[in-house]
Symmetry: C2
Subunit: 323 residues, 2 copies
């Protein structure tokens, strides 16, 4: 077995509780004893067993991070940032992928519950009711989902959508289309509301669609049929698929139709034409969500909604309307 607190105690001639204190309450132990104990510990390669510690303190110093699909390029920057922020706060994070399956998601939360101090739920597929039930067992922070009374990190897609429509309008486009995402999506709903409020333009609503390239590909015909010359797509993947579908039909972007995506994934910078998009602050969302979560772990409370700004990044997939 590995070296335990008892080994350190024996080797440094003090009681285990002194060793314990040397680590978790340094101010309660004589500086000299402390340095000696720590030296011995270091010498022996002692590392506190966090699981054992958790048993008495009730703090595991672990977090759960649950996402629908790790492979969706929207998530990795969020995971990376969350994980790093947690590490800086001396927390480890379990990352779990539900593969878009609510059943898996619920089960995961259940089994994780005892091993973590809190859970970050990103774009959950669970019903509100289930989420509300589960929150009794462990603190949550939601990302990209709104449930009343729960701590949440949101990105201001509505504003992003407004910026997008203004951009298209400024370029002279008057007939626009919104290629929506899955019907249950909060993001998609926000975009629709922004579209409905757009002025001086017609906006056609095309959807729902799968939030993938295939979804965009399949929407190409409808976009053409709508007569729109400016399009806001649910996300970058959809936008890229759409551009491809349009190309297959001999429609050029941006010469014939302008297309804007959402998320600012890396692929958007690499595709041709480079994608004009609404950048989502995913890394910031990850960091902030972790901080909110740790705060609510400490204070038992901390609900509240944090709304993060989005920005429009103009690249090559939008251009002037030719009327």
């Amino acid at each position: 077995m590995a070296v335990t607190i008892r080994d350190v105690a024996r080797a440094s001639g003090v009681h285990v509780s002194t060793v314990s204190r040397a680590f978790s309450a340094p101010h309660l132990v004589n500086p000299e004893t402390r340095t000696r104990v720590l030296a011995v510990a270091d010498d022996l390669g002692y590392r506190p067993n966090r699981a054992a510690r958790a048993l008495t303190t009730g703090r595991t110093h672990n977090l759960g991070l649950i996402v629908a699909d790790i492979s969706n390029p929207f998530f990795p920057p969020l995971i990376k940032a969350a994980q790093e922020q947690a590490r800086l706060r001396d927390y480890h994070v379990f990352v779990a992928d539900t593969d878009e399956d609510p059943k898996v998601e619920e089960d995961l939360i259940q089994t994780l519950t005892k091993q973590v101090d809190g859970v970050l739920l990103c774009s959950p597929r669970l019903t509100n009711r289930t989420i509300e039930r589960l929150r009794e067992e462990v603190p949550f922070v939601l990302v990209n989902r709104r449930v009343k009374g729960m701590a949440t990190v949101l990105m201001d897609v509505a504003r992003g959508a407004r910026l997008a429509f203004e951009h298209l309008t400024a370029l002279g486009h008057r007939r626009l289309a919104l290629v929506t995402g899955p019907s249950g999506s909060w993001t998609s709903k926000e975009m629709q509301e922004a579209a409905a409020a757009a002025r001086d333009v017609d906006v056609a609503f095309l959807g729902p669609n799968q939030p993938t390239e295939l979804g965009g590909l399949a929407a190409a015909a409808d976009v053409i049929a709508s007569g729109a010359t400016g399009v806001l797509a649910y996300n970058d993947l959809v936008a890229i698929g759409l551009i491809e579908g349009l190309a297959e039909r001999g429609v050029d972007v941006p010469d014939d139709i302008s297309v804007i995506g959402v998320d600012d994934i890396v692929a958007g910078r690499l595709s041709r034409p480079k994608l004009t998009t609404i950048a989502m602050p995913t890394a910031a969302a990850g960091r902030i969500a972790v901080d909110m979560l740790l705060q609510s772990v400490d204070s038992q409370a901390a609900t509240g909604v944090t709304m993060l700004e989005t920005t429009l990044i103009v690249r090559e997939s939008t251009g002037e309307a030719h009327t």
Copy 2:
């Protein structure tokens, strides 16, 4: 506090040890008692505390997965698959990002060590010496790195590179270039050896380069200077950057120069031209690595090297040589 084994024992009129057995050694308990206990447990919403269990069994049922950079599109499919495979085996996985920093990497392993039964090290930046030292503390499986005597999952890049060179040769290219990656990379070394063995062609070695689009972008001038008409790049990101760099200099892909990448990341299918690439079985690697790890957790042993096949995917970035 949550419901513990004691609550279940009390509510079902048996001793805690019986409840324990009902869960972890069902065959040792009377079927009737068992069903009753389980019913009560279910009723109370009891879930065994894995951390407490780990304290006596020595098995945490957790795994660590350490990668250099979650945002690198090479990793998410691997993480996703590993995580899912682990879940099927009733394991949870800590995912940690070292941000390419060996110091962080070592530290992470150290603190994770006590909480996991094994660690998956993907493309580690540590020295062999350090890896060998750390393996004393916890079982490892290495992905994309070879250290003697350690369990390893490798992808057959050398064969992939051969296929790439053969493809280029068959298209009539005679002057080739290999745009290499970071100097310490096992993958890069494999590619170089394959290149050196290629027949009937000249291969220029260009590098080392950063394993990113910027690396590819910066290599464009050298590629042109080399006079090569067929290029194998370290990975897809480099290939995409290279294609961009060539375009900036008025060189068309594939008309003037053919380019092949490695990894088959999603962006490669979305970029223009669509990238011809060597597909790496990252998901399979993740699954297999987890199985190897669990096996070595059980048997204390299990070293061995698994080599996975790679395949050439021909898309649009390669074409016939115009000579």
